[in-house]
Structure formats: C-alpha cells, structure tokens
C-alpha cells in the first residue's frame, strides 16, 4: 500500500462530536464562571509566602540577634524575654507556611481538575 492510499484511508477517519457538544460546553462554561473559587484567584501564594516569611524572619532576627534591650534606643521601652518572643515568631512563621501550603494545595486540586 503506497502513501497516497494510506492518505485516502486516513482521510476517512475523522470523528464528529455529538450534536449538543457546543451547547453543553457553553453551559459548563457558565457554570464554571459562577462556581470558580475566588479564594484561589484572589491570592498569590508565592508572593504572600515570600513577603510574610521575609517579614517574620526579619522581625525574629532583630529580636533574637540585636537583642530586646536595644529597643530602648528607639524609646519603645519594650522588655520582652527572648525565648517566648522567638517561639511566638516561629509559630507565626509556621502558621503562615501552613496557610500558604493549604492555599497551594487548593490551587493544586483546582489545576489538577482542569489541567491548567
């Protein structure tokens, strides 16, 4: 069988969608527009994570390395013990990371569903 013959045969292999394909698709698009979870699209997890992580790390570093007494210099007169503050900052970092991971997971599920 030569190439032209194969071509003729394969040209008969086109498929057609069902008659209501486009209508069903349009309905689905309208439904998706209503149901699209806003939380996934209203935040940018990477940006949120980077900023909050940098901010919290910065505060933690200042409190831990510079030392609490030096706050007196800027007349804040805060006298907090180092360890609880460090634990608190660490808790906030972990909380932030957990939230970002939850959001990423939600977005991952959404992307897996639609393959975007």
């Amino acid at each position: 069988m030569n190439e032209e013959e194969i071509k003729k045969i394969i040209q008969k292999s086109g498929l057609k969608t069902k008659d209501d394909f486009t209508d069903r698709l349009m309905l689905e698009l309208q439904r998706e527009a209503v149901e699209m979870p806003k939380s996934v699209h209203s935040v940018r997890p990477k940006f949120y994570f980077s900023v909050s992580f940098a901010l919290l790390l910065g505060i933690g570093a200042v409190l831990f390395f510079v030392g609490v007494p030096s706050f007196a210099v800027v007349d804040l007169k805060i006298n907090l013990p180092k360890t609880p503050v460090f634990v608190g900052v660490l808790f906030l970092i972990l909380y932030g990371a957990n939230r970002v991971l939850t959001l990423s997971s939600t977005q991952g599920d959404y992307e897996e569903k639609w393959g975007t």
Partner: protein, 170 residues
C-alpha cells in the same frame, strides 16, 4: 461568548479526532475535548499569536489527552482490557461507508497513541512535520519514525481486518 462558540464549532471535530487517537474511546475523548475548551476559554488571553490558533489549541488537546491517559493507566491496564472500542459516532453516510469507517477506526485504535496521532495530523489535517513537532512536542526523528511505523502498522491491521478486501477502502 458568541465568538468563542464559533471557534468551538470550527475546531471541535478535529479536536475530538486527535483526542481519540490518544485515548481510543470517543466518550472519554469528548470529555477531554470539553475540558480542553474550558481551559482554552480561561487562557485565551495568553495566546500570543506566535503560532496558528489551531496549532496552539491542538497542543492543548494533545497535552490534556495524554494527562487523561496517564490518569487512566493508574487504574486500568489498557492492554489487558483490549483497547479497541466501539466507535459511537462516525458521522453521516451509508452503511458501507459506516462499515469502512469502523474498520479504519479499529485499525487506528490498534496503533500506539503516538503513531495514530502523528498519522492523523499528517494525512488527515495535512500538517507539516514542524507543525506536528510543535503540536506534539515530539522531536523530528520521532515524528518521522512514528509516521513510518504508523503507516506499516496501519496496513498490517487493515490486512488483518479485511484481508484482500482492503482495496475496497480506496
């Protein structure tokens, strides 16, 4: 929305045919095509017009179909079940034409997804090798090898199905 409807109408049959080359089941392929068009609607603004719209669309059809195939393989071994499915909608035509199309589809379904896809892109939609590379993401040599093997395997499958009556297809 009306413009998008026209786009869908223009490309839905070709998209289904390509998806079916990979997935072998028209029902599953139609679901994949629907998911593709939803994706395309949401990402239409990212289409940079660097390539033809059809090339961009078919690339998404192909990627979506391979993703669906990957997910299917997690649950079912296609080879164990037998991958020749009944084609439900072959379009209009008399019973002889329908029979011919059925055999052609059976032969194409017996091919590997890559081979069936490349054969249809090349012979049915008359894409050039470079366009096929863009749509499938395959290298030039793989496209050529799949074309060559696809042609041979297609002929063998048709001979298996039809014997000497193979020339009635022409």
């Amino acid at each position: 929305m009306q413009a998008f409807r026209e786009l869908v109408d223009a490309h839905k049959d070709a998209s289904l045919t390509l998806a079916c080359s990979i997935l072998k089941d028209p029902m599953i392929a139609e679901d994949a095509v629907q998911a593709t068009f939803i994706k395309v609607y949401q990402k239409l603004h990212t289409f940079g017009q660097k390539s033809k719209f059809s090339t961009w669309l078919y690339r998404i059809v192909v990627n979506t179909s391979y993703n669906v195939l990957k997910q299917q393989k997690k649950f079912v071994d296609l080879d164990a079940v037998g991958n020749v499915q009944e084609i439900t909608d072959l379009g209009n035509g008399n019973s002889k034409e329908q029979d011919q199309k059925k055999y052609i589809h059976q032969a194409l379904d017996a091919l590997k997804p890559d081979e069936a896809l490349v054969l249809r892109l090349f012979y049915l939609y008359e894409h050039k090798i470079t366009e096929i590379q863009e749509i499938t993401g395959f290298g030039k040599s793989k496209v050529k090898v799949d074309l060559h093997r696809g042609r041979n395997n297609m002929e063998q499958e048709l001979k298996k199905l039809l014997g000497n009556e193979i020339h009635e297809l022409l």
